[in-house]
Subunit: 339 residues, 2 copies
């Protein structure tokens, strides 16, 4: 399996690193817009088996034969659509970790339909994946529901720790702010919270046959009751250490989905354990916990690589995690397995 | 979707009951060997929309058009193979809850290959499914592994309560015996423990690309330290209240899979909580708990119904849970969903 990686930032590098370790995968091209990277070998940055030089655009790889492009250049459909289309037109299947591509119709139906039509014309599939959206708060819930007679309601919570992240992420969650400044940040769009609730809700609604008519998101400040620290920096008691972003999805006034994703630094300072928790109210009720939570970075990198053989075999067009043929696993279809 | 149910015992009845509630499913035939049932309407036993009369063999349904047969007549491949073949030769897809059919090659390769060939000749699929084997100690672990860079080892435990079960199940787990009589029962085959470890191990080994060369099963008595009760009957301290059945699977001397399934009456008498627990040792480590455990009876019935649309769409031949196209969900493909 020959792959091209588009976007050689933190996530692109980690995906390249993992992909290169798989015998069945060869990296045949890497694209990044950063001029400082152009002409450099990827093995100057990561330990890989391939002698691949970074180029500035996919057009520079016209003589390279590949099966899949992995796109890591943005979160929004509008930012990655052109790149997806350029890959698809070269008959490349596409895997992207752009959050909005986990269920892109909900944000931009027109562009989604365009990607669907053009990928079908070129006999390839396009999949948006990741850990959240893409697995914990949607796909895994759908998989668990397979043991249920009936699902009445889904509640899920993902509690993580922002401590490993840099200032961009911390600022986007309102860390270091006063409560007042947090609310200002939510209003002016500086505090983003989690990108992906709309996609997770739509993915589950489709799987469960639910007609969702109201989706309410809320961003609340997480105010610390004790002094907390992030990379040596003090955040005093009473200040904001993160954002508790949640969503409620209703049908005819009835709540069917509740998702909550409080992201904060040093939750253990107040005895809060990180975890993923899924509650399905139905027949039977199910209560699942993964503790500590599935790490978002590692998980997304793993998922982007693990889906590769499945995306190649999947039906053509713009697809979701629900369309993948066969259950995922880290080696599945990457070794010659004989029953 | 028109279905035929073969085997109208406890599980067959519950499957019929659930299937009948789905708008998209119609029961068009029911077969059972019990002469007392012949000629009776299934609605004399369960609340269903269908006017279906129970017949003695599938041949009696020659004028009935159906898509799938659900077979609930036994646990072993040798016991269900003839029934599967008779359905397949009528161009019916087959779902069976026979434990050994979750990965039948491991028990009887020749018969499995015969089923595979004949189902392909008739353009249909045959799937063995259930909760255990079929989901908790295999499929769910494979799904969770999709977020891993690497899986080094899998450990999983399912702790349940035998209290709801009747004397056949209790006897098969050694309940009421002395420790000595338990060991005798294991030796003479009266104590069966759990049927399905070999299948779960094989399903995971295939998914993870593991070459398992040694599989060791062990059945240990669960001896109660307090008086316990089942349906009013006393089991005195020191007696056996169940069977702790476990399996270890190795490759070149290294343990890769450890599964444990202690089944006992009234575990809470000693403060033991029922649960399903999965530990993946790898990158990252994962620790999942479902508490209380997924109920085996309800879960198996739900799964047998929920897989129906997927089995119809699946590739032809004898397949496993890993081959199902698309993730399962209770309504998936059972409603007209438009993106």
């Amino acid at each position: 399996m020959n792959i091209i990686i588009i976007g050689f930032g933190e996530m692109g590098k980690n995906i390249a690193q993992l992909a290169s370790k798989k015998e069945q995968i060869t990296i045949v091209g890497v694209v990044d817009i950063n001029p400082e990277l152009h002409g450099k070998l990827i093995k100057e940055f990561i330990e890989v088996k391939e002698e691949v030089t970074i180029v500035n655009e996919i057009a520079a790889l016209s003589d390279v034969e590949a099966d899949v492009a992995i796109i890591t250049t943005g979160s929004e459909i509008e930012n990655v659509a052109e790149t997806i289309l350029s890959a698809v037109k070269r008959n490349l299947n596409v895997v992207t970790i752009a959050e909005e591509m986990a269920y892109p119709w909900v944000k931009n139906r027109e562009l989604s339909e365009k990607i669907d039509v053009i990928s079908k014309q070129n006999n390839v599939s396009v999949l948006g994946t990741g850990i959240n959206p893409g697995f914990i708060l949607d796909t895994l819930i759908i998989v668990l529901s397979s043991v249920c007679y009936q699902v009445n309601k889904v509640k899920a919570t993902r509690i993580n720790d922002l401590s490993p992240f840099g200032p961009t992420v911390l600022n986007a969650q309102g860390v270091f702010r006063t409560v007042e400044a947090f609310h200002e940040g939510v209003e002016n769009g500086e505090i983003v919270g989690h990108v992906g609730f709309q996609q997770s809700v739509a993915l589950m609604a489709e799987a469960f046959g639910w007609d969702i008519d109201e989706v309410i998101e809320e961003k609340k400040p997480i105010i610390t009751n004790v002094d907390r620290y992030v990379k040596g920096q003090l955040i005093k008691k009473g200040m904001v250490v993160g954002c508790n972003h949640s969503v409620i999805a209703k049908s005819k006034g009835k709540i069917l989905i509740e998702l909550e994703h409080p992201q904060q630094v040093q939750p253990e300072a107040e005895g809060i354990k990180t975890k993923d928790e899924i509650i399905i109210e139905g027949i039977p009720n199910l209560h699942m916990t993964i503790a500590p939570e599935i790490p978002g970075g590692i998980g997304t990198v793993a998922m982007a690589v693990n889906v590769l053989p499945h995306v190649i075999k999947a039906k053509e067009g713009l697809i979701t995690m629900r369309d993948l043929p066969g259950l995922l696993s880290i080696f599945e279809n990457m070794t010659d397995q004989v029953k």
